[in-house]
Symmetry: D2
Subunit: 303 residues, 4 copies
Amino acid sequence: MTTHRLIPTAWHSVLGTLPVAITVESGDTIVTETIDANGWDKDGNKVANGPNPMNGPIAVAGAERGDTLRVDILDMTPNRATGWTRAALAANVVDPSFVTQLPERHRVTWLIDRNAQTARLESPPAALADMVLPLAPMIGCLGVAPAGGQAISTTTSAEHGGNMDYRRIAPGATAWFPISVPGALFFLGDCHAMQGDGEIVGTGIETSYEVTVRLTVEKRSIVWPRGETERDIFTLGNARPLEQALQHATTEMVRWLAELGLDALSAGHLLGQTVRYDVGNVFDPAYTMACRLPKNALPGRGR
Amino acid sequence: MTTHRLIPTAWHSVLGTLPVAITVESGDTIVTETIDANGWDKDGNKVANGPNPMNGPIAVAGAERGDTLRVDILDMTPNRATGWTRAALAANVVDPSFVTQLPERHRVTWLIDRNAQTARLESPPAALADMVLPLAPMIGCLGVAPAGGQAISTTTSAEHGGNMDYRRIAPGATAWFPISVPGALFFLGDCHAMQGDGEIVGTGIETSYEVTVRLTVEKRSIVWPRGETERDIFTLGNARPLEQALQHATTEMVRWLAELGLDALSAGHLLGQTVRYDVGNVFDPAYTMACRLPKNALPGRGR
Amino acid sequence: MTTHRLIPTAWHSVLGTLPVAITVESGDTIVTETIDANGWDKDGNKVANGPNPMNGPIAVAGAERGDTLRVDILDMTPNRATGWTRAALAANVVDPSFVTQLPERHRVTWLIDRNAQTARLESPPAALADMVLPLAPMIGCLGVAPAGGQAISTTTSAEHGGNMDYRRIAPGATAWFPISVPGALFFLGDCHAMQGDGEIVGTGIETSYEVTVRLTVEKRSIVWPRGETERDIFTLGNARPLEQALQHATTEMVRWLAELGLDALSAGHLLGQTVRYDVGNVFDPAYTMACRLPKNALPGRGR
Amino acid sequence: MTTHRLIPTAWHSVLGTLPVAITVESGDTIVTETIDANGWDKDGNKVANGPNPMNGPIAVAGAERGDTLRVDILDMTPNRATGWTRAALAANVVDPSFVTQLPERHRVTWLIDRNAQTARLESPPAALADMVLPLAPMIGCLGVAPAGGQAISTTTSAEHGGNMDYRRIAPGATAWFPISVPGALFFLGDCHAMQGDGEIVGTGIETSYEVTVRLTVEKRSIVWPRGETERDIFTLGNARPLEQALQHATTEMVRWLAELGLDALSAGHLLGQTVRYDVGNVFDPAYTMACRLPKNALPGRGR
């Protein structure tokens, strides 16, 4: 189990079958510094163009189409004292008749206090003068090369992952992605110091991070991304409208529960009374819905 | 401040301008026993037809169109040893191509242990033999008479409230509804011993409850239902698709924040990084989305 | 077969179980004058409030829940020299980011030339100075009382019909509605001198009409409204999002084709290659989609 | 103006920046034989894998990002005596609760009579024994390389075009696409001998065609695909849900009308009373809606 440091020389705004940045063995750990969604690095230099430039792709030896890539997010360390957001709600998250009341969506700066692990607006409006928020780092965009020669924009998402902006993809979590090409070709970037559900201003607090992940190939198949935190398991569906994303995520959870020994009837009973849905990105072309199940609701898990 | 006991002699499957069951003063408390979604009471007698027969309407003296009805949910006590659910996921919450893999949606019985405050299936499948779940009571359907002479089915929801199936409408919570007719005409029923997000089997654990609420008229206007718990404030949007429900709820939250002194710019900053969305009913004609904000994120609330 | 003249003394902005305006026998003809969507009659007097005040309800003797009401639209004669529209596209039919570029939605007057059977703007913008459009009359809102004590606003639509704004509901056409209450309780109003698909400015050319319909009870059941013109048969689904309306309409057409002797396989072959979809209302809470099949595509119809 | 014959040696299931098959001058004509959606050619040989293998890309000299590619469809000649369809409605075009009543979606053969210009099922069910349908050829999938290094599957569609399955993209029509890469990189394939609206069985009558197109670079910008037939102009939006596709198409039509001298107010008046919407593909990940305007409704066009 080797630890690699990936120092990117190119970044990508699509996830596809692109020239490999580094090849690792299954089980290896990679440390890499991501740049922000507009391509600014930890030193404030613009080194790439947006949207959401990705580090990678990282090839994992032995990965084949039909396998699953396990991604353990071991650490995320902010490495810049500032982040930025858009200043206004996106037009698609309010009533159409309310759109004319939204302010301009200019860019604003946040100050990130790495000691206190908090963020605050550099020039807050008076009403928010005292707003200091705890950091809650997450990876906004990550996933693998899609099937069939596709190269999918980092502004959207699908079965391969992508720009899902789900806040439980965070340090300590594990995510799984369905592998479509040899080597899996993993990408990551677009880290946020924090973000509300839905990324409804079109951004989290966008900044640069040092990220440590461990990549492992598993010889089994999944359809949509899955994940696990200390307390929950979850599946992710990506589509519009939001109920189609919910359908994908729910169906994937039923498949997962089948692997755990629950037939569709048992899965219905369990999910019907214990499921939780979380909203990921509702800003981009595909929306993300998580179907989440507390581990303590799973049979034999110590209820 | 009087406490009334409402003993229904009729139940209603629409919320509309119907004959008043009881008239109370603003600030009065009402204790009433609700029957289950199919019309079975605490003694197991079928006293009404479904869907979701409501107690009420309760008229509140002095309520006028344009006012707001505040509903404090003071207590919910289960008064029957059994509840029931549907056995399978609804066809609309899985992928269309997966529908053929769902089992029949027959009715199954749950045993409610009122001492232990838990529920379990009467005849669980083997995989769920040890599943015992903590009760989490909630009111599935409540609201006021809608405007313009409408009588809206208890299978759906709109600005007036209705069948929202949101699990934070629970003991200790407060909900507000926009009043459209003199007296407000409040209805409630369809209580659940517990329910997962979305009511994705088409039911929570359906049973009868003794419910205690306090009704207060407030001389201010809202557009969509609002609520408050110990930790959060929330707004509720009801529509399809789910993103339209999200738009309604988000817009209402922006209006609420404006009343609290935050202009649209400040609201965008705050919601963008701290909002939470919860899924209510995704089974019925209108879906429900809650836009929720932790109170500790509100300016001046002790962050 | 009697011909009745219904002279309304009250109008309704909901379709529900309301006091009967007139009772007729199955097969009778009714002549009645409708007022415009804001309640202005043929003489320019405001006699009712909007939205979409309806004439009716007309009870048909012998109609029972589970029957079907056949409505033959025998004639529509405009009886006012003016109509009106809204001046701008509705906010929900353009991209959310484009909403700020829409003009105000004020009311504008059209001149209706009943001899030439044309309409033109009273004060057209320069670019439309020569725009003279042929009249294409249609009934915007019609249907029967819904089930279960509901009273559904004339701004929306469902299984019972309502505000569908489908331009093939026009002179010479027949429409069918599923009956939910004794007497059927038929309503009509909201006539348009013409209208584009979708009613995307929120109005057709709104004016008053003398309408002649024949009402017949049929002892068979349907689920969603159906219709027939000289050249086509069609079914109507009402819901959001638009694909759900399409699902309802397509499913109803499959049921209709089954009644005509085509099993689901044959219906798939036929619809797959010959179906047409038309957009009704996309302005109101429920959208309308028509599933239409040219009669000459039906087996044994002279292809 | 040269006429080229493109004889493909490779086919593509994505539209992207791929190796150029042929480079032509603006205004040149290209004749090429397309294979069917599963990769079978005119001789019944499988020469490529699906889905929807494309001929191309064809580079047009001088085309730059921001330009528009004009595609005149000069001719489509069927060159095989058979086509195929799927036998059943897709699960997503009927009510979720109706899905279990659909038959299997196996592949069935149609006989194409090139003299009579008709098609009929090789082994029709009894109810369709006499069904003979007139050919109505169309190009199911066509468009240009998308922006930003994307390679978008031929099962879906976006601003660049793709699998729109719109039946007015047919001989005699002109289509325009927004150019995102040097040379435009035009692709075409997936021709249908006929197809109902929506491609609701997941196919038209899939077969091989000889297609003749003329490609011309225009130095102006558009956002979404546009088209023109003898009688109409139209714009195409691609997205889910269907109302978002409608929003894109309507917005693009307003932009087009602005180029023709109509401000947003005039466009609203004109579209409000004369627009037609047509449904393209409702089977694939993105749905297609056409916003269509009869030319005789355009100012100065001889109304």
